[in-house]
Every structure is written in structure tokens, then in C-alpha cells.
Symmetry: C2
Subunit: 337 residues, 2 copies
């Protein structure tokens, strides 16, 4: 039985949400501990009505722990995951560090739940911009095989952590009040502006965030022939990533068929009534776990193309929700044994 839990990075923005989701979803456990860097150790946390003290993350933190859900920077994940695995603990990791390693399944429960079987102690949760896209792709891919994806993102500042959210709010105030503000998370002013760069320069003019959307998508579908052309842009929105997605499939999919496929997929909510001004927006999708789809249209430039608008809470389905769902899969798979 997986009954002893640890939450690593428990005090961060995603860590907080993971705690909240575990409560909301009545995640089964016997013991739980909350781990963080030295800086945050000692913080008091209330979880399911009990007070816990955040402990400093050390190798021994994982003794007797069955599942650790981690949301930390890449370098912390690189260090702590082996500590956990050595002690027989399975790590569900939100960071980017382990995702593309050969022995690490990269899992979105709606898309490739079977991949968790192959874990060797670490299971990765994908990058936020990838997760919502592959959830949307899955029913179309099953029905008509996706060969190509062109995606442009509109990514919220919460994806850059608490400092990103602060940069937007304080930056907006500084513009409106004409007072100075020094941006911390972003290279440029994000308030009332756009930054067409997320992550660092990675490959042939693409950023690291963009290449995650390429490689993670191929890994999740287990199909390197799916071609992805991404452009990732930071927008002055607090929370929820949005994406224009164009897919080309082996056989044409009509709007009606796509809508039906989306509607019957768990984890997807369709909001699509242009005439009534109804479509997903960051404001209406925030604090929800689903991937929202609207503006479903035939691609005017290719008979085998279909295009749509996709919004999801990047801190939830893009991070915390997906990680908790992976942990739930683990628990269910164990229960089935």
C-alpha cells in the first residue's frame, strides 16, 4: 500500500495547490510530511485540520515514504529524487529535470496512463504548456492520427511562479501610477506588453519552453513522427495558459466530430458558442481542473486541418492537478494488484 506521503516544495505556489487538491480529492494516506528548502523549513501548515511543520529536505526525509510529489526547481529535483528512490519511495515530479530521461515515464493520465507501469522510481509530469495541448490532442489522435501541430501560446505570469505574478501586478500598478518598478521574473516589462520568449535559447532559434512542447508531446504519445511547431509567448494575464492549436490529421475531422470527441473526453470541457460570445477565457477557466476548448473550426488552409482555442489553469492541470492525478493512478494501480 502507498500510504505514506511527502510533498516536496510544499510552500511554493504549486505546492500549495497540491495540498489543496489532496484535501479536495480526499487523497488516501496514513502519514504525510511537507518538505521544503532550508529557507521555508519551520513554516506551519494546516492540512486536513491538522497543523504540520514544514521540514527541511534531506536524504533521510524519504525514509518510510511511499510516494513523494515534488514541485521544485530543476536543480532541487535532480538532487532529491535519487535520495527518495534509494529509499524505495516513488517520486511524482513536476520539474523539468527528469521528463526526457529514458527510464522516466512522462505521464498525463488522460493520455498515457499505461506509461506509469514502466517507472523505475520516478514519474514525471509534463510542462504546463504541453499538458493541456496533449489532453486536447488525444481524442483527435485516437480518431484520426495527428501528423502535425502548429501551436501559439498565450502564457500567464503565474507560470513564472510567485515572482511572475508579482511582476504583473506591481508592474501594472507602476504603469498606471507612473512609478518605477524593477521586474524580477521577466527580462522585460510584462504589464501591458508581450514577451515572445519563455525559457532560454535552445535549438535553431527555438526556446527551451518551445522545445519542451515538441519533445514532451512526442514522448507522451510515444510517436516521434508527430511534428510540432510551437511559438511560446508570455502575456499579461495572471493565471491560465491559452493556446491556438492547429492539427493536421491523417483523415479529415469535421467540426461536429471533433466537438463530439472533445465532449466525451473526461478532463475536457467544451465552451463553444461564438454567436453568444462564449468561449474559454483565462478569467473563466482559472481555479478549474479541466482543459477547456472552444472556437473549433475547420482549417481554412488545409482540408485535413482543424483548429481550436484551448485554455487551462497552468497551476492546476498544467502542474498540481496532473501530479496529483498521477499519484492517484499509482494508488489505484496498487489497489488493483
Amino acid at each position: 500500500m502507498y500510504e505514506n506521503l511527502a510533498i516536496v516544495g510544499a510552500t511554493g505556489a504549486v505546492g500549495r495547490l497540491i495540498r489543496q487538491l489532496l484535501e479536495e480529492r480526499k487523497f488516501p494516506y496514513k502519514t504525510i510530511k511537507f518538505l521544503a528548502s532550508k529557507r521555508s523549513a519551520g513554516t506551519e501548515i494546516t492540512f486536513n485540520g491538522q497543523t504540520h511543520i514544514v521540514e527541511e529536505l534531506t536524504p533521510e526525509s524519504f525514509a518510510g515514504v511511499d510516494i513523494a510529489i515534488g514541485s521544485t526547481p530543476d536543480d532541487a529535483a535532480a538532487e532529491f529524487a535519487p535520495w527518495a528512490v534509494e529509499r524505495g519511495c516513488i517520486v511524482v515530479d513536476e520539474s523539468g529535470y527528469w521528463r526526457m530521461k529514458e527510464d522516466v515515464p512522462l505521464v498525463v493520465p488522460e493520455v498515457n496512463p499505461e506509461a506509469i507501469r514502466n517507472h523505475k522510481g520516478i514519474i514525471s509530469s509534463p510542462n504546463c504548456s504541453t499538458t493541456q495541448m496533449v489532453v486536447a490532442m488525444k481524442p483527435l489522435h485516437d480518431a484520426a492520427k495527428i501528423k502535425r501541430v502548429v501551436v501559439s501560446t498565450y502564457q500567464a505570469t503565474s507560470g513564472a511562479g510567485v515572482a511572475g505574478e508579482k511582476d504583473l501586478v506591481e508592474g501594472a500598478k507602476s504603469v498606471l501610477n507612473q512609478t518605477p518598478y524593477e521586474y524580477q521574473a521577466f527580462k522585460h516589462q510584462i504589464a501591458f506588453n508581450l514577451i515572445p520568449q519563455i525559457g532560454s535559447e535552445k535549438y535553431e532559434g527555438y526556446t527551451s519552453e518551445e522545445m519542451k512542447m515538441v519533445h514532451e508531446t512526442q514522448k507522451i504519445f510515444g510517436d516521434d513522427s508527430i511534428q510540432v511547431c510551437p511559438t511560446c509567448v508570455r502575456v499579461p494575464v495572471t493565471n491560465c495558459h491559452s493556446e491556438t492549436i492547429l492539427v493536421e490529421t491523417e483523415r479529415p475531422i469535421s467540426v461536429a466530430e471533433a466537438r463530439e470527441l472533445f465532449e466525451k473526453t473526461e478532463g475536457i470541457t467544451v465552451v463553444d458558442n461564438l454567436g453568444a460570445g462564449e468561449y474559454p477565457m483565462p478569467l473563466t477557466c482559472s481555479n478549474k481542473n479541466d482543459v477547456f476548448i472552444g472556437r473549433i473550426r475547420k482549417d481554412l488552409s488545409n482540408p485535413n486541418g482543424l483548429t481550436f482555442w484551448c485554455v487551462s489553469d497552468n497551476l492546476r492541470k498544467g502542474a498540481a492537478t496532473n501530479a496529483v492525478q498521477i499519484a492517484e493512478l499509482l494508488v489505484r494501480s496498487q489497489a488493483a494488484v
Copy 2:
């Protein structure tokens, strides 16, 4: 000689910019008059150091006028342009009303200057989101024939006029101060949000703004075989439209070739150094007349594809600058005769 000018809609956001551009560019004229609706008539305007009184727009306004540059709502343009044409005045019109009429050239001076020759009294300037895209497409199309375009827009609130700009500023204040604000230009909150609808429902789930990008592009290039798949999104940015543009050409274009083609095109400025965090942004392109291009990359999903990021001031090149440039073309063509 075209020496007697009229500016129609002289008090609007674009009208103000047209006046400013005529001054900046030392547009040649003997007389100039400023026309507007009854509501704005009587307003005092200073132009080239002289005080002018805005006159009410009537059929007789155009007597003796050679060129009228109009920036008005569609219904006003539908009414005033025939008044002008009947009196021998050539209309350069910014509105959407005349653009797709068969006898009306739709002109972007960098792209199809020769089209002005065929006017029958009215010359249209395209929609803002189209203009910057066709300027960017032109050198690539000349070099390698563009067959297909996939474009996602990030459009500023200034595109919805003064009320749009106000909605963003007052909306942002209302969110930050937690006070109520009723949006006027937009159906939904635009501050810290995205609205994936510009214009009304038009064709097969596409909006009027999106269909303008399809039809105007084909008309400007005189080539209905260019396939365009657009998604237009309003973003909480004050000024400058941005676009991710993916083109597929008859023969592959390398990044180096594209860059060279862009760089030698008048009206385009390339800003493309991802490693140094340099690319066009609304904040850096505002109040400039050029179309700015960055993030030039090979399409990872198609060998004949090329993708890039394109930003331009929607009130300038997307409206006022293009209209003034058309008027300049007219003056030069007359001078040549």
C-alpha cells in the same frame, strides 16, 4: 495637382495620428480641411502651426477637395465616400466598408502600389491585422511564392478605439483596486484576460476580423490561391498588434535568406537576437511606422515552412501611416504625369 486635402474623422484616434503624420512627413498641400460628425464639429485643431475649426461632414464638404483621407466607422464611410467621388475628390479610406468592393483597390504601398492606378475614386487601406502581415509576407512571396499562412494574433485594445484603450486602463485599475467597472468596447473583462473573438461571427465559426485576414490578403496579392488560417485574439496590451505567422512556400526558404529578404525590405525592421533577449514587443514598437520582425525560424513541422513573430503599431502602419502612404503614392503618381 492634388493640393487640396480633407481629413475625415479628424478628431478620432486614427484621425489625430493622420494629422500628426502629415506634419511629420511634410505632406504637400495648398489647403486642408478637417471634417467630423456633427458632435465633433467646432473643435479647434492646430495643424502646422495654424488653427483650424473642425467642420461638419456634409456632401458639400468635398467641393474643391482633391484628396480626402478618411478614418470613420463603416456606415459613415459608406455615406461620405460617394459624396466625395461625385465632386471629383479621391478618397483614401481606412474603414472596412469599401475594401472588398470590386472597383476599389486595396493598397499597402510596400506590397501592391501599382493597384492605385485602377481606382475609380476610392482607394481602401486594409484592416490593421492584415496590413502588417502582408508587409511581412511580401518579400517571402516574391522570393518563393507563399501557398499557405497560419496566423495567430495578439491584438491591442487600441484597435477597438479610444473606448478600447479606456476599457483596458480602467479595467486594470478596477481589478487592482477591487472596484467595479463596466466594459464598453468589449463583451468581457479584457484586463488580465484574453478574448478570443474580434468582430462578429462571420463564416464557419470564423469572426469578421479573421475573414478580413483571409480575403484582404488574397485581394492585395491578387492571388486567391494563398490559403490563410487565422485566429484573432484580443490581449490586454495598450497598443501594437503582434502575430505569430507561419508561411509555407513553394520552395524552402532558409532563416538566413528570410532575414536578408526582410532586412532589405523598406518598411520592415528585423529585431532578432533571442540569446540577448531581443525581439519586437508592443512596448518597443509603439509609435513607430515600421513592421517589426523577430524570432525567425524554420518550421519544425514542414521543410517548406518558416515561422516568425511580427509586431506593428496598429494605429500607425495598421491605419494612419498606411493611409498617408497611399496619399503620398497618389501625389507622386500625379507628379510623374
